[in-house]
Point group: C2
Chain length 384, copies 2
């Protein structure tokens, strides 16, 4: 198994964009090749992380169109879909392509165009990942989040304010991210007074609907210095599933896919929770940041809420979480989100995170699909 | 890079099915695990080749649902989409998962459910792979096929009857395939008198719209004997793209992706066109069988039509092509087709092809997406 490096990264502005999916993917792809000092002719594999360009735009075959637009033909290409965690699955697949020696240069571009559709249309496409039986009863992802948040607060005697602390922190981080959809702070009162969506969760507990694209460039670690001195390595990676039917889980506050994919990544890397210096977690709903903090072993079960309230996960805390602003303020263009998480970790590890910079030698990105149905976790290491 | 074996295969009945996509995938998945003597707990990666369950059925997240149904959790899973060649891309990805040492047992299940939608709806989803500019002018895949067939016949002074010979041959082969959608012969006159679709191509030059699923099971070659004595190896594999805009190609009778992916597979395997004993080619339109026969070097450019007329590609010919009946008579459930091609080659190489059996030590499967936009070619070898 060859060691794998990330040698370039890019992301477009996240938010409400006029461009359609092909243009967003092309913008990120071109910027990423430029960032890695790699010409299109060198690209052997091109992966596109995208959940639903067919449903959202009536456009299929996006990878081929992108290969054409970027001039990377005859590179092998395919679309990788793992719903909300398509980006993480794309990283897993791109990593495999280098590790297996099938490719010497792999470009991954994740993207989604969603805001042109109405919110009901968009959420209905997303809800189609749930089990038909649960879907039929109206238990979509926000409902699961509300039910789980209630259970978590009750089980661990945690205050509602602790969830708001996640939103406040991630919005604060987003202020310093020029690519973020929302670059403005929110205070606790705003979160707590926002309209209820799925009790106890309110509007500001949810990430927005977003258009955007993000890209990463991979090569064998030993080849990386040929291209750039700004590279990091994939130290460990894991991917795992949990039940499709959420109500079959014995403890909904434990996400099995998070635990399992994290363990795989820890074992492969030789790094463990105490070694992680910075993390990007999938805060599609504020409660998910707690579940991942605990599932990945950063905090004991039932303690992540305290850590959020105490500032331990703030940018100047013991373990900065979501320095990018997270999905909460950066936005969540489904196929792009996992890629953009790794973009942030890469930037932190090459000391190019600008005002968001923290001290970090090892970073972790955890990307969650469905309601924890499928999860990928990647651990990246600085190679300064 | 680890050598990779196929240790099991399955396919459902192809045709018009009542079951929805999840059930079809589960049927093939269960049968494949049984065929390879592998319990679900051993599966580390599960790939689902599927183009458009969201568009056809409003169902996303099929891989997760399948992981649940098969009991393979916490296996890593993702959907692989490369339009019509999603199955071939799935083989490529599954191969990478074993070659990279990321997985020791990988299950690939391809499937599509299409016949419940009207023909215009179905063809419109398929046509969404074309470039918007070409699509807007109504140049969908059948149109490209007609234009290319006309060019081929004119360039090589080939008779219209030679295209009909492909349909006649593949229907004859399909008679002996109990999983085929059509298990009946057609004669040349029937093909030539069928309604025109895209001149010079007529109804019987086209594959049908089909529901179905097919699966393959992979492990490291060195582990294969632990599971079964019915295994074959992946000797070589290649994947490549051509222009998204078809009219930019200098010679539409040469499919660049076929040529390039074939060369990759030949180079990796050390086998060359003269070594191939049996081939499954992507005969979505009869003309495509000629283009692949020539692009893969089985016959000189402009000679494949003679080979078809002379019976050289018949089951008792020099190089049997589409012993399964091909997409033409077996059917073409998009995500399943590439997997089902490899199913046939595997069955031939383990001497389990029943009345379709030919003498073969080395077989090739070529799966084409779009109008040659993306192509994967796999060469498999008997390990008797």
């Amino acid at each position: 198994m060859r060691d794998v490096a990330v040698i370039g990264a890019s992301m477009t502005q996240f938010g409400q964009r006029e461009e359609w999916i092909q243009e967003l993917l092309a913008q990120a792809g071109i910027a990423c090749l430029r960032d890695g000092n790699v010409g299109p002719e060198a690209v052997e594999h091109l992966y596109v992380s995208n959940m639903a360009s067919g449903e959202f735009e009536g456009q299929t075959g996006a990878p081929n169109a992108l290969a054409h637009d970027l001039g990377v033909m005859p590179a092998f290409t395919e679309r990788v879909d793992q719903t909300s965690s398509s980006g993480g699955a794309g990283i897993y697949t791109a990593w495999q392509s280098i590790a297996s020696e099938a490719s010497d240069v792999t470009l991954l571009v994740g993207g989604e165009k969603m805001t042109h559709r109405s919110t009901p249309e968009t959420t209905d496409v997303i809800a189609s990942v749930t089990h038909p039986v649960e879907y039929k009863h109206g238990v979509t992802l926000p409902s699961f989040a509300g039910l789980t948040a209630r259970l978590y607060l009750d089980t661990y005697d945690a205050p509602r304010e602790s969830l708001a602390a996640v939103a406040v922190k991630n919005h604060r981080n987003g202020v310093d991210n020029p690519h973020a959809q929302f670059q403005k702070e929110v205070d606790k009162e705003t979160v707590l007074d926002s309209p209820i969506v799925a009790d106890p969760l309110r509007l500001y507990d949810f990430c927005p609907i977003t258009d955007g694209s993000s890209a990463l460039l991979f090569c064998p670690l030993e080849d990386a210095p040929e291209y750039t001195d700004r590279y990091a390595s994939i130290a460990g990676i894991g991917g795992a599933t949990d039940t499709h039917v959420v109500h079959e889980r014995s403890d909904p506050t434990t996400m099995g896919g998070v635990v399992e994919s994290g363990q795989q990544a820890y074992e492969m890397s030789g790094y463990y929770p105490e070694d992680i210096d910075v993390a990007e977690l999938h805060d599609m709903f504020t409660i998910l940041e707690f579940l991942q903090c605990e599932g990945l072993g950063f905090f004991e079960p039932g303690r992540a809420w305290e850590a959020a309230q105490n500032g331990e996960t703030a940018r100047d805390g013991r373990l900065p979480v979501n320095t990018s602003g997270g999905l909460k303020s950066k936005g969540h263009p489904l196929g792009a989100s996992g890629v953009a998480q790794a973009y942030e970790i890469y930037k932190q590890l090459i000391d190019d995170a600008g005002p968001r910079q923290v001290e970090a030698d090892v970073g972790l990105a955890c990307n969650v699909g469905g309601f924890g149905n499928c999860v990928t976790t990647a651990i990246m290491e600085a190679e300064r």
